[in-house]
Amino acid sequence: MNFWGFSISEARVIDYDKNDKTLAQIMATEVPSSKLCIGCGGCTATCSAGNLTEFNIRKLQMLAKRGENKELQTQLHKCMLCGKCLLVCPRGVDTRRMIWSMLRFINS
């Protein structure tokens, strides 16, 4: 019961030292091209899921690289694995394989 009407907000800061970066390591090994991302947002701009919902594939994979995996649990299932993002990426990131690798991790 929140008697006084006050609550403590959860810290938004990425605590890089404490975060578990296992998924980030798996991604880097399984999909080496994922390391080439420069955060341009081309993938998000073209993504149908991203145009209709909160889903942002650029941001999700960048968060995963910092060990922030929480949003993946609620968001990643929106991806239809259509591969449009793959077609536009200027850095040749194999985005679909990267998403597949993240999906396997959160479902395991």
Partner: protein, 338 residues
């Protein structure tokens, strides 16, 4: 009568050599005991990882040309013109040098990182500058102040550049690529370390630079975080705790580093202001020497017979500096023959 060149760094040496080869006699003045300028602080050059010492040896050999007279440990102290416009320069040892043209190649100095106090340089032991890292590469030794191999290293871009707080609005141009080069060199020495670059924009403008950035990510596993360091503090183990925003995910981020490298920018050379007032030149808004036209007069100043080259007029990388020196030699030859 000859061409006088102030500064025997890469720009001054290259221009001297080109002028000598085209038949001019050159008086080359250098304040230090050896030539090379800032090149003496570099270990390997980008993008081809050439040894800086090899390039310097080549420059030194070139200026052995019989038409070039090198004055080491000399500074100009007075300037005047004779009736026919001939330039007269008095050196600090009392020597008087005359010439038909004067080329300023006084170069740059690196930003004094103490001025960016919140980054802790000079306060925390494990904060070093990119110049100090180059020197560490020369000695093949990278250790923290407590004598350990660093496990996590952060390279901080834009220290002393693009920052109104220290009155430096311009981009120094070479520190992004230096950071990428140094990150790769660090990786080669420390295969297990985590290495991160914290940048505002990646300005990889030169040939081979963007490719090197790609290679740094893919092959050398260097991580890039877009965000400017706000402040650093030190923990009991002398590690640094840094705070940035990971702007591409829109969240503040904190982490500890064992070693933090500040990518210091370029400033006008020491004595730049005195030189400008002595020669009656104009100061550009960025504090360097103003050229007469940004397209067609990049080696000309507002004074007849006085020219400028290399980082005296704005920050430049080494490739552009050498090109600019050759351009200055052509400009001066044209002037002398007109």
């Amino acid at each position: 009568m000859s061409v006088i060149i102030i500064g025997a760094g890469p720009a001054g040496c290259e221009a001297a050599y080109r002028l000598a080869r085209s038949g001019e006699s050159v008086e080359l003045i250098e304040k230090e005991a050896e030539i090379g300028g800032n090149l003496n602080n570099w270990y390997q050059l980008f993008p081809d990882r050439k040894q800086a010492a090899d390039l310097k040896a080549k420059l030194r050999k070139n200026i052995e040309h019989p038409q070039i007279h090198l004055h080491l440990k000399s500074k100009p102290v007075a300037f005047s013109r004779q009736g026919d416009g001939t330039i007269q320069l008095t050196l600090d040892d009392g020597a008087l040098i005359t010439g038909k043209a004067l080329l300023v190649a006084s170069g740059f100095r690196t930003f004094d990182a103490h001025r960016k106090e919140e980054y802790g340089y000079g306060i925390y032991e494990n904060v070093i500058t990119s110049v100090e890292l180059e020197n560490a590469f020369i000695n093949h030794q990278i250790n923290t102040s407590t004598g350990h191999a660093p496990k996590r290293i952060g390279l901080i871009h834009c220290v002393g550049s693009r920052d109104e707080k220290i009155c430096r609005l311009y981009c120094s141009k070479l520190c992004c690529v230096t950071a990428v080069k140094q990150a790769i060199e660090l990786r080669e020495m420390l295969p297990e370390a985590e290495i991160l670059c914290f940048y505002m924009d990646m300005r990889m403008f030169g040939p081979g630079y963007e490719e090197m950035y790609r290679e740094a990510q893919e092959k050398y596993n260097i991580k890039f975080v877009r965000g400017r360091l706000s402040e650093a503090s030190e923990d009991r183990e002398k590690r640094l705790i840094i705070k940035v925003e990971d702007t591409l995910v829109g969240k503040p981020l904190k982490m500890t580093l064992d070693l933090m490298v500040l990518m210091v920018g370029m400033e006008p050379a020491e004595g730049n202001d005195q030189l400008i007032s002595m020669l009656n030149l104009q100061t550009a808004p960025n504090g360097f020497i103003q050229v007469s036209d940004p397209h067609s007069g990049t080696n000309c100043t507002h004074q007849k017979g006085i020219f400028v080259t290399g980082c005296s007029s704005s920050p430049m990388n080494l490739t552009d500096t050498l090109t600019d020196a050759r351009s200055a030699a052509v400009t001066i030859s044209e002037y002398l023959n007109s």
